[in-house]
Amino acid sequence: MTSIPTILIIEDDPTIADLIQHKLERDGYQTKIATTGDDGLKLVREIAPSVVILDGMLPGMDGLEILRTLKSEEDTKDIAVLMLTARDLEHDVVSGLSLGADDYMTKPFMPNELSVRVKRLLAAKLRLGQN
């Protein structure tokens, strides 16, 4: 039996976090929300999600710092990360991708597009696991 993938949403804007959660749960995934970078990192280590949706601009530890940490640790380096960035911050996109983010989207975004991106990340992860 295949287990239901868990998606961790690290996002401090409650409206956006709820929106993502609502969409992904309708798609049949389990979700968790963390509103700070520190909580997010703790949760990643606890639940080992299949995908992390990571806001680039978080209070305290920012998205790039979290990404760097995730990609440097053996237990978390293979977790797919989709970065959410403000549309004007092109350098964040470049930095995120160079640090190992698997995909990114600019805010605001269409929920359906997010859903497709998450599906693709999960499919890629599955393919990777089979190889």
Partner: protein
């Protein structure tokens, strides 16, 4: 089963009534006949011109920009279409008392004692003092000079350039210097007015240094005087009657109308804290990109599949304008041959839009007669004899028969989009498109339209009657040197420039060859995808026409801004621009799937009425 018949034999065959598709084999290939395919059956009738009434754009709440119309025979329709294109909510009225309910009033096309009563002039003079904003177009008299802050009005038809003096947002020379006429064609120039001795430094000047757009701050209010007729200039672009003052034909940045509309939008936003603007690009993206292909050469159809595969691999869909050429002529061999339906169906299967690119692709299309609306395949036989000589072509025949063939050969219920050969238009094209059933045209260039946004077409490219057809002008094409493959950096730069306005980048690539054109397209998609929405013309056209009907009104209810939207047609990904210091009111329901980021509100879907509540941060 399809048959190719020599032209003269076909005439005989049809004349003696042998059914189409009878087993006849000939060596020559002058015409392609598809078995059982004859039509369209329903005749096309072009409706008589019916003037659009300004009252269509009346009503709405006081949060909209009010247009106080002082001459119903003016170019107000151009202004209305420009404001729609720019997403600025407005309401037209001829009643000054109705206009006074609004915070921002644009008096158009002129202010003078001959078009406004003394009471109206007095009341309008008080608008800025009472904290409102009064924008006067062509302030000729009426004693309002002191309100706007100038001494005299100086008319001229010999001013051809505007220089924007004050705007931090304009960075390109093409945004700062705007052409408004051609010095070699004085008779066709739009009349202008200059304002002498302006009290404050002008916002824009003419090339002779005189003031073209002036403003004045009065207490909490503002007064602006425009020396140009914005509606007339908009119609010059939208009706493709710019008479040579566009600075380029294609492939370049020509934001003349976009700059002026942005200026108006900025005035509105600055003056009214309820201002809500509808962005021109779906899904809160900065740029709408439509990749289109013209299939007007025998090899192009085969190559099209390779383009479509690349597009599908990049997750996008493109529009393929098909020349349904079933006759061999001076231009080329038959394009719509026995293999064509299979290829067309394959393109459709891959999610591509199939659109019409005429039958004959004739250089004479602009002088074709309109036709009788009964043109049918296979009897309709437009024959290109030489470059500028075509026999038996009609405008309606080109539109009817090409559409019918694509629909019939591919089982597409309705072909929505059209582009003429060589981007050459007939003056009867808009009403002909509407009569045949097309909704979207991509028939001219953005540079000659003086705008990088779509717009609504008028009957006869004229000034009185709008049609339910929208134009999506071509931004980048592939036939002008240098070769397309050498122009990628310029094209990306152009896309970025347009994205600052939230406009359309319509790319036209003939699929006659692969190599550098295919590489260009791949590179372009990859470069602009992060900030762009991609779709077919049919996708964007449906979105655009739904957006065109959206009504927006806003009202402060204490500390809460209540924004009411009405979308008669469902629309996904509509994006609003509001004051960046607003956020969703947590006390009220937030529409499902909506987000707000830096003043940009993305609405996942609206169908009918929707109320959204905001509060200040």
């Amino acid at each position: 089963m399809a048959q190719r018949l020599p032209y003269f034999l076909t005439i005989i065959v049809l004349a003696v009534g042998i059914p189409v598709g009878a087993v006849l084999l000939f060596n020559t290939d002058d015409i392609m006949l598809f078995e059982g395919v004859e039509g369209p059956d329903t005749p096309t009738t072009i409706q008589a011109v019916s003037p659009t009434s300004w009252t269509k754009y009346g009503g709405g709440s006081e949060s909209r920009l009010s247009i106080l119309l002082t001459d119903t025979n003016s170019a107000w329709l151009g202004l209305a279409h420009g404001l729609k294109s720019a997403g600025i909510p407005f309401a037209i009225t001829t009643d000054y008392e109705e206009a006074l309910r609004h915070k921002v009033i644009l008096v158009y096309p002129r202010i003078s004692g001959s078009v406004l009563s003394p009471e109206a002039l007095r009341a309008l003079a008080g608008v800025p003092r009472n904290g409102g904003t009064l924008i006067g177009s062509s302030v000729l008299g009426g004693g309002l000079q002191s309100v706007f802050g100038f001494e005299d009005t100086i008319p001229s038809r010999q001013r051809y350039r505007l220089h924007i003096e004050r705007s931090s947002d304009l960075v390109s020379p093409r945004e700062i210097e705007l052409p408004i006429g051609d010095a070699t064609r004085e008779d066709e120039a739009v009349g202008t007015y200059a304002y002498s001795s302006p009290r404050e430094a002008p916002i824009a000047t003419y090339e002779d240094g005189s003031a073209a757009i002036i403003h004045r701050e009065i207490g909490d209010g503002y007064a602006y005087a425009l020396g140009i007729d914005l509606g007339a200039l908009l119609l010059k672009g939208y009706n493709n009657r710019q008479e040579g003052f566009a600075r380029s034909f294609v492939n370049e940045f020509e934001p003349m109308l976009d700059v002026l509309l942005r200026l108006l939008g900025d005035i509105y936003r600055k003056a009214d804290d309820r201002a809500v603007i509808l962005r021109a690009v779906p899904n809160a993206k900065d740029l709408a990109v439509v990749i289109s292909h013209d299939i007007d050469y025998t090899e192009s159809l085969v190559n099209a599949v390779k383009y479509a595969r690349m597009e599908r691999d990049h997750g996008i869909a493109a529009t393929y304008f098909i020349q349904t050429k079933y006759l061999k002529d001076w231009n080329d061999d038959i394009i719509l041959d026995e293999n064509a339906p299979v290829i067309l169906r394959e393109l459709k299967r891959m999610g591509m839009e199939l659109a019409s690119h005429s039958v004959a692709h004739s250089l004479s299309f602009p002088v074709f007669p309109i036709g009788d609306g009964r043109e049918r395949y296979p009897n309709y036989r437009p024959f290109v004899k030489e470059a500028e000589v075509t026999y038996d072509g009609t405008v309606l025949g080109e539109l009817r028969v090409s559409r019918y063939l694509i629909e019939t050969l591919t089982d597409i219920p309705s072909v929505a989009s059209f582009r003429p050969g060589h981007l050459l238009i007939s003056r009867a094209l808009p009403e002909s498109l509407a009569a045949v059933g097309y909704s979207y045209s991509s028939s001219v260039t953005a540079n000659t339209s003086l705008s990088h946004r779509p717009f609504q077409l008028n009957y006869g490219y004229d000034v009185v009657s709008e049609l339910p057809v929208f134009e999506f002008p071509v931004t980048i094409e592939d036939e002008i040197n240098p070769p397309l493959g050498d122009r990628l950096p310029q094209a990306i730069n152009l896309a970025r420039q347009i994205s600052r306005y939230g406009g359309l980048c319509m790319v036209l690539i003939h699929t006659d060859i692969l190599e550098h054109k295919l590489d260009f397209e791949r590179g372009f998609i990859e470069a602009v995808k992060p900030f762009s929405w991609f779709g077919t013309l049919n996708d964007y056209g449906a979105w655009w026409s739904a957006r065109n009907e959206v009504l927006v009104d806003a009202k402060w209810q204490g500390e809460r801004l209540e924004v009411r939207l009405f979308a008669p047609k469902p629309i996904a990904g509509l994006t609003l621009e509001i004051s960046p210091d607003l956020r969703f009111d947590p006390q009220h329901e937030i529409p499902l799937g909506s987000q707000i980021v830096e003043g940009r509100v993305l609405l996942a879907e609206i169908d009918g009425s929707q109320v959204i509540n905001f509060v200040r941060r």
